[in-house]
């Protein structure tokens, strides 16, 4: 999950240019909105709420009262991306994911990038996400992260144009694609007439693409692979999505206890007896996969699964050990990976990042804490970060002590002026900060994605944290031609 950063300058607005004019790709929408009575919009909003409740699209917020499920707020005003912009993004995303997969293959085999000194070895070896168990294990197609979620934000450039930056790579179990699909369904149901004014590129084939991707990475020689979705169970925050995707793909949704390993082959129990499993789309962390190989106290996994995996009898998607490539301490090196493995210049830029393990960076950052965003390198989900401009003096001082105690655990970034998109709020329509998470699928030789991605919106005024675990909402995302 990503955290967004805070604005100093005027942010780039997706709908309006700096002089207040409506950007061309939003003009048909603007005209439509103008014709719509406000009461009708309000009615549609409550219709959407009821429908989401009925479908059961919910999200657990950890630490919230009783950990109970709640709706992720859905905003009716779509985020629109021109087709030309998307094609450039798509090129950059495919390049980045290709490089990240090449990096993972290298790190678990020859470690050429370490030998070449392009990444300091301790960033890998002293990283709990690096899994020695994966050393020398050959995975189908050399692919590790078949399903990647790349978090993008757009900041205002000097010329007033918005520039996309990669905020974070999610290579383990990125979630959120069910909202992307349901948001589109909801929009088409509430405002069918809107879709006659735009050529919105479809996204509803995502489950088909996902299934094709999973089948493409089946163990060699398997002609008609059996694919399953593995969930930690109904208490997981993304359980809705696990069941949703299994249902959409027409495959079984299983928990660890539904499977067993015999003779290094994985089976699931069915009413017709054991059935061999070839590909697991697992939505469970490495640590819990196999109590024999990882956490011995895991009740969620399958003993012997790692052995079946190492023997090449089953494919895990995503592979074990991908976390070493999406850690915040590795993030600064991704552009270098693109150059090293692909011999290309990165299409998508990183947010400039200071690594506090470096003395000079540390001194620079400590001088400017109130302006910067500081993140824990192993943190996720918007927990354990400091947003300087939004923090009190006491909070900043408290964080300074934490940094000084273990500087290598932190990175810092400038507070970007994250782009905004008009959003329905109590008082009417107002700009709110947004990000974008496209889902990138790698299977066989192809890298594919559905146009757009999940747009998350920080609903509180001025807030930059868009994570659903921190109370953000979502928008439908349109790529239009």
């Amino acid at each position: 999950m990503s955290e967004a950063t805070r604005t100093g300058a005027t942010p780039y607005d997706e709908m309006h240019s700096a002089d207040g004019a409506v950007r061309p790709h939003y003009q048909p929408y603007e005209r439509w909105l103008h014709e719509m009575p406000r009461e009708l919009i309000d009615r549609k909003r409550s219709e959407a709420d009821i429908a989401f409740h009925r479908v059961g699209i919910t999200f657990n917020v950890y630490g919230a009262e009783g950990g109970k499920e709640r709706l992720i707020p859905f905003d009716l005003l779509p985020r629109i991306i021109p087709g030309s912009e998307w094609r450039e993004l798509e090129r950059g995303l495919a390049q980045r994911v290709r490089a990240l997969n090449a990096f993972l293959a290298d790190i678990y085999h020859g470690q050429e990038i370490l030998r070449a000194g392009r990444i300091p070895a301790d960033q890998i070896l002293d990283n709990a996400q690096f899994r020695p168990e994966m050393k020398g294990v050959d995975v189908p197609g050399g692919l590790y992260s078949m399903i990647a979620g790349i978090d993008l934000v757009r900041a205002a450039g000097a010329d007033g144009r918005g520039e996309f930056f990669v905020l974070e790579d999610n290579l383990r179990v990125p979630s959120g694609v069910s909202y992307l699909l349901e948001n589109r369904k909801m929009m088409m149901r509430l405002f069918p007439d809107l879709f006659s004014r735009y050529h919105v590129q479809p996204v509803d084939h995502y489950p088909d693409l996902l299934l094709e991707t999973l089948r493409a990475v089946a163990p060699a020689g398997v002609v008609d692979p059996t694919v399953v979705v593995m969930t930690p169970g109904a208490h997981n925050s993304a359980y809705f999505e696990h069941s949703f995707l299994a249902q959409q793909m027409g495959v079984e949704l299983v928990e660890g206890q539904d499977m067993f390993v015999q003779d290094d082959v994985l089976y699931m129990r069915t009413t017709q007896g054991p059935r061999r499993v070839d590909v697991i789309y697992r939505r469970i962390d490495d640590d819990f996969l196999d109590p024999l190989a990882f956490r011995a106290d895991s009740m969620l996994g399958v003993p012997g699964l790692m052995r079946a995996y190492q023997a090449g009898h089953v494919t895990l998607a995503n592979a074990v050990g991908t976390g070493v490539a999406d850690d915040k301490s590795i993030y600064p090196y991704v552009p270098e990976m693109v150059r090293f493995y692909l011999g290309e210049e990165p299409v998508l830029n990183n947010v400039p990042t200071w690594m506090l393990r470096e003395k000079d960076d540390l001194a620079y950052v400590l001088d400017r804490l109130p302006e910067l965003v500081v993140k824990e390198v192993h943190g996720a989900g918007g927990y354990g970060m400091l947003v300087g401009p939004a923090s009190t003096k006491a909070q900043i001082e408290d964080f300074r002590q934490r940094i000084l105690a273990a500087p290598e655990k932190y990175i810092a970034q400038p507070t970007l002026s994250l782009s905004t998109c008009p959003t329905f709020v109590e008082a009417g329509i107002a700009p709110r900060h947004i990000d974008l998470r496209p889902f990138v699928l790698s299977g066989g030789k192809q890298i594919r994605m559905v146009p757009g991605g999940l747009t998350r919106v920080a609903l509180k005024e001025g807030s930059l944290v868009v994570n659903s675990s921190q109370g953000g909402g979502t928008k439908d995302t349109w790529v239009v031609d």
Binding site: Q111, L114, R115, A116, G117, R118, P120, A121, D122, L125, D126, P132, E133, K135, G136, F260, V261, Q262, D263, D264, P291, L292, A296, P303, G304, R307, Q310, A311, R357
Partner: protein, 313 residues
């Protein structure tokens, strides 16, 4: 050159039937500098379970097996014949200052410089691992280590001094700790068994920037006439190897305050106990269990095998 026969028997008795058992065994002595395994058999009762041999990520042979028929006793009998060459030790005084090892690792691992293969291998054993976290106590452990690792002192000399101090400061007490006792607690309480002392020493070395690995193995059960019996001789044993540039891995046994020299047989090595424990498994059913472990290491041609039963140390 000494030739040993090793018998390592492990027997689990369960209160009720185990329906399914998946086990990983690190029981075949690995070949390494100064050691060659001439013969090895692993007998598993009940029956011949399904098994598969492979090499794990640290280069150790590992046997994975599963039992799918109900059983209330699991017995694993390992028999090995191993030739051991007494190690040729770098002269204490001749070895380089210990800081060289630290610098070599620091430069190799944290800089933007090409990484040498030896440092890359050593780097695997330089950082925290599941049984050896380097959190809060690492500063205290580092201080403890630095009293041996004084500036400019030759690496091997400092290493042996640290082992001696651990041997002197800590009491051997099989009742004091369990497999799960954290290093910090061992350090507080000043007692434990070979596994604890090895973890402690590794933690000390890593805390000051050195690479150290955990060696699982055996000791000769009955010493040659006139020599004392070593601690840990009737069970699995463990000691430490530290990395020294230009020399390689240097073994040292803090439990016996000595350099392994012909009476130690290496089974496997890893970052800590968790990587190489002789037998580890997940079972379905079984209720409570009791375990008996017996290890004997006898020079070939010495006659009858003495039998010792003791809990694993």
């Amino acid at each position: 050159m000494p030739l040993y026969d090793i018998a390592h028997d492990t027997i689990y008795r369960y209160d009720s039937a185990v329906l399914l058992s998946q086990q990983l065994a690190h029981l075949r002595p690995r070949d390494c500098v100064g050691q060659h395994c001439l013969a090895h058999t692993l007998t598993i009762e009940p029956g011949e379970g399904r098994r598969r041999e492979r090499i794990d990520f640290f280069g150790n042979p590992v046997t994975a097996f599963s039992l799918q028929a109900p059983h209330d006793t699991l017995a694993v009998h390992a028999r090995s014949r191993v030739r051991v060459k007494p190690s040729t030790w770098p002269e204490r005084a001749g070895s380089a200052p210990w800081e060289l090892a630290r610098e070599h690792l620091r430069k190799g691992l944290s800089g933007h410089a090409p990484l040498q293969d030896d440092a890359r291998d050593a780097g695997q054993y330089r950082f925290a691992s599941p049984f050896i976290p380097l959190g809060d106590p690492s500063a205290r452990l580092g201080d403890y280590a630095l009293r041996s690792f004084r500036p400019g002192r030759p690496m091997v000399e400092a290493l042996l001094d640290l082992a001696s101090r651990i041997h002197a400061d800590f009491r051997f007490d099989p009742a004091a700790t369990s497999v799960a006792t954290p290093v910090a607690e061992v350090f507080e309480r000043r007692c434990g068994v070979c596994q604890d002392f090895s973890h402690l020493m590794i933690a000390c070395l890593r805390a000051i920037g050195l690479a150290a690995r955990y060696v699982s193995g055996y000791l000769l059960t009955e010493p040659p006439p006139g020599q004392p019996r070593l601690i840990g001789a009737d069970a699995s044993h463990a000691w430490v190897a530290a990395w020294c540039p230009g020399v390689g891995w240097v073994d040292v046994d803090p439990t016996n305050d000595m350099r392994p020299d012909g009476a130690h047989v290496t089974l496997a090595w890893g970052r800590d106990y968790g990587d190489v424990c002789p037998l580890r498994g997940v079972i379905l059913g079984g209720g409570g269990h009791r375990v008996e472990v017996a290890v004997t290491v006898t020079p070939v041609g010495s006659g009858a095998l003495p039998q010792h039963a003791a809990r694993e140390r």
